[in-house]
């Protein structure tokens, strides 16, 4: 190939947008909302955005790992509800110690994820179908388990179970810290642990991954289990904040998580995406939700706006690539 000297010297915007476009969208969104509402740019509100985003953030990391393997997990919201009601029930009606109840809750999430992963890898069912089944199954199971009634009054059983949802470290609410740790863990796993790199390899080319000796089925099992476990963790936080475990909790949470991951630049073709991108995606979704509330947009319009903004973000993303 001939050298570069014949090309005119000019700044190439494309790589710049590819790298910083997402961050710029986030800043632009913040700027617009600061102008539109004087309540937006206050530390109280910003902390509020972060706290509200933390549940979606925790779920999104799991969702991202699944999408990196060319999969999808539609069951995160239902699994959240099922694990939350079982955990709360263990605590309230079985009199289990807090840590044990939390453990059971996470185990339920992991088990649901394991079923997803098993179906997707060993049984070779398309992820969409497998997790669609789990979505319905877990929701039904949560309603059956509670008879459709929320489990409330967790306060009286000590603050332990609500700790993750309500405690504060200095000025910072606990959910933000938990989400931060999950993001940190996700970043380390995906970027600095062989298994994390295998997730990218698998998403990039499953056959090459298999022929390179990567444990393809175990990787899939892992990502779905991670998604399930993180949903359960998000469930504990939600229960803590609401002081009740509802079988209808987490409805449409899969939507916010998928939206955040995809807005964050993770490709549905697998093998491509960053934790930082997902973080920004989560914040963008959170800020849109927050902004629509601040601007007193009615609930119906909120959904319309959210859908449109996400479609727009993806269009932009595609145009830049």
């Amino acid at each position: 190939m001939i050298g570069t000297q014949t090309l005119p010297r000019q700044f190439n915007w494309r790589p710049f947008f590819q790298k910083y476009g997402l961050l710029m969208s986030l800043l632009l969104l913040c700027l617009a909302l600061s102008v539109a509402s004087d309540r937006f740019l206050t530390s109280d509100n910003l902390l509020n955005v972060l706290r509200q985003s933390s549940i979606n953030g925790i779920i999104s990391i799991g969702m991202m790992m699944v999408i990196l393997t060319r999969g999808i997990d539609l069951s995160v919201g239902s699994v959240l509800a099922l694990s939350a009601v079982i955990g709360a029930d263990m605590l309230k009606n079985e009199g289990m110690p807090v840590l044990q109840a939390i453990g059971i809750c996470l185990l339920v999430g992991a088990a649901a994820g394991a079923v997803n992963g098993f179906l997707v890898s060993w049984v070779n069912i398309p992820p969409f179908i497998a997790t669609l089944g789990m979505m319905t199954f877990a929701r039904g199971a949560a309603k059956f388990y509670t008879d459709g009634q929320p489990i409330t009054g967790l306060d009286s059983l000590g603050q332990g179970f609500r700790y993750l949802g309500t405690a504060e470290v200095g000025p910072i609410p606990m959910p933000i810290i938990v989400a931060g740790l999950v993001f940190l863990g996700g970043a380390v796993l995906l970027n600095h642990v062989p298994f994390g790199r295998f997730i990218f390899g698998l998403g990039n080319n499953e056959e090459a991954a298999y022929l390179s000796g990567l444990p393809v089925n175990r990787i899939k099992l892992f990502v779905y289990m991670a998604a399930g476990t993180l949903s359960a963790l998000a469930g504990i936080i939600l229960v803590g904040r609401l002081n009740s475990a509802q079988p209808t909790a987490g409805e449409m949470y899969e939507f916010d998580a998928i939206a955040a991951v995809v807005v964050g630049g993770t490709s549905f073709d697998g093998g491509e995406g960053t934790v930082m991108g997902t973080l920004i995606g989560v914040l963008i979704i959170g800020i849109i939700n927050n902004g629509l509330n601040l601007l007193d947009v009615s609930a119906f319009y909120q959904d319309i706006t959210k859908g449109a903004v996400i479609a727009l973000a993806l269009l932009l993303h595609r145009a830049i690539r």
């Binding site: 295998f198 390899g201 090459a208």
Partner: protein, 526 residues
């Protein structure tokens, strides 16, 4: 073969003389194209006359594909003009190109795996049924059957194409291009996965097309084929036009010199050292369904064992079975005399077997990932302390691999997608070398890569053999099998049909065995 080619080329030359007076079918003039950071083409002229076969040759990265993509409307040229039958034309999409009568057969097959052969051939051009908007399926399949019959192919037009071999799929692509009634057909490496017999069929079809006045641009790395079938040859190097010559006026050496810009030494260097005594891999009565039947052989340390045979003879399946990609249904595998149980690639890798698959893009590479990620993927688990990846080690190993295999890449972070075919193949091989394998199986290791990179890969195989690695090389190119191997196994319909000493065997011996003519007799003791 060579004589044939010569006579063919001479006749072609005279036919070409008379064609020179005609208006060119296609003229591309002063074509330049640059991508961010590289000028891919600079001031290229290309002329195709009606009823000629023009060879377009050059090393990988020389700009052949880019030029053809401009012709096909995939890219637009920065500068230059295209004239079609004397009229200036603008081609903005493959659809425009097709409307003019330009048909493109890509190296990467463009068939839809889940559709059957008939639907693929007439995709988007389905014959209409009685009711508008419906498809006349019977007519479609009849026509498709006729198209395939024209190529002497006896394939079921209702079988999804994914069940066909790559060679068969290639021929379906050819049938598709022919059915479009193209004036100009561009064939990008159409023979790279065909057996000699299939190549002959393809060539005879190409000759009759030429007689009908259809022009063909033939892109190939196999210069014997260029000699055999083409009228003129256009050589590109590093995005620049080196020259266009009648094939009869230049020697193969001339063409190679124009392609690489330097003299290339003898392609195949005969190794003096025979294989050592120790058997590293032994296969006993290995079977997998009816694809691999009762195959037994031994591979010695430092030996290069060639495996020849027709496409579909079970060579790839044999390799996959040894490697555990598809488990065996019978027989046993011994490594250094110890029986090993291989049901999955992981187990084969742990036993020290590496496998460079046939289709590097689909099976060998993580195209969207970096050179470094590809090189270390298989060994990554051993590069941790205690669980975190030691990046300096990754960097060092990659640097070493890039150096050792002379992988030409701007950086370790370069995505493998952006490398040329030869360098991609080196990356796949580098991945296995990181594991220091005892046995390395290479399936068509030089398919679709240029002359220079081929020679480098042969040299590398020799180096590995010197160091005691047992090498199994599957290849459809008989000169390659004969030139590179120490010993040659020939497969036919899943069985071993012959074993030859590469120093004494001839192409005829191998072909006879491959076609089953000498089955069970005339075994030439190695």
């Amino acid at each position: 073969m060579r004589l044939c080619g010569c006579v063919g080329a001479c006749t072609a030359f005279f036919m070409y003389k008379s064609r020179m007076d005609q208006t060119p079918l296609l003229q591309m003039q002063g074509i330049s194209k640059s991508f961010p950071g590289v000028q891919a083409l600079k001031d290229i002229d290309l002329t195709v006359y009606p009823g000629e076969i023009l060879a377009l040759v050059g090393e990988n990265g020389a700009g052949k594909s880019t030029l053809m993509k401009i012709l096909n409307g995939v890219y637009s040229a920065d500068e230059g003009a295209i004239t079609w039958q004397g009229q200036p034309v603008a081609i903005h999409s493959p659809h425009d190109a097709q409307a003019l009568g330009i048909s493109m057969i890509h190296q990467e097959l463009a068939l839809i795996p889940y559709l059957d052969a008939g639907k693929n051939i007439y995709l988007g051009r389905e014959p209409q049924g009685a009711i508008p908007g419906t498809v006349h399926w019977r007519k479609l399949y009849q026509q498709a059957q006729a198209d395939l019959a024209e190529l002497d192919l006896k394939l079921n037009v209702r079988t999804p194409v994914r069940f066909f071999s790559i060679a068969q799929q290639q021929m379906i692509e050819v049938a598709k291009a022919l059915s479009i009634d193209a004036r100009l057909i561009v064939m990008d490496e159409p023979t790279s996965s065909l057996t000699d017999r299939e190549v002959d069929t393809l060539f005879s079809r190409m000759r009759s097309l030429r007689e009908r006045g259809v022009s063909i641009v033939f892109i190939s790395h196999r210069l014997e084929e260029v000699r055999a079938i083409c009228d003129r040859v256009t050589v590109l190097r590093d995005g620049i036009l080196v020259g266009t010559h009648p094939v009869a006026e230049v020697t193969t050496e001339d063409i190679i010199r124009m392609m690489v810009g330097r003299e290339v030494g003898q392609m195949y260097e005969r190794r003096n050292r025979a294989a050592t005594d120790g058997v590293v891999l032994e296969v006993r009565n290995l079977s997998r369904g009816d694809r691999v039947r009762d195959v037994s052989f031994a591979l010695r340390r430092g030996e290069i064992l060639g495996v020849a045979g027709l496409v579909g003879a079970g060579r790839t399946e044999l390799a996959e079975t040894i490697f555990g990609a598809h488990p065996a249904t019978g027989g046993e595998i011994l490594l250094e005399g110890e029986p090993v149980h291989i049901r999955r690639p992981q187990q084969a890798i742990r036993s020290g077997i590496g496998f460079v698959p046939e289709d590097r893009k689909r099976q060998g590479l993580f195209l969207g990932m970096s050179v470094a990620a590809n090189v270390v993927m298989a060994i990554l688990r051993r590069l941790t302390r205690p669980v975190l990846i030691r990046w300096p080690r990754v960097e060092a190993i990659t640097r070493e691999s890039i150096q050792r295999l002379d992988i030409r890449t701007p950086s370790q972070a370069q995505r493998v997608r952006n490398l040329s075919g030869g360098n991609q193949q080196k990356v796949v091989i580098a991945k296995w070398l990181t594991l220091d394998p005892r046995v390395l199986i290479l399936d068509e290791p030089t398919r679709g890569i240029d002359v220079g990179a081929k020679a480098e890969i042969y040299r590398l195989m020799h180096q590995l053999a010197e160091r005691g690695v047992g090498i199994i090389m599957i290849s459809s190119e008989l000169p390659e099998v004969l030139g590179v191997s120490d010993r040659i196994l020939v497969m036919h319909e899943g069985r071993l049909a012959g074993e030859f000493d590469a120093r004494t065997a001839t192409q005829n011996d191998l072909m006879n065995a491959a076609t089953g003519t000498t089955l069970n007799k005339g075994m030439n003791p190695a």
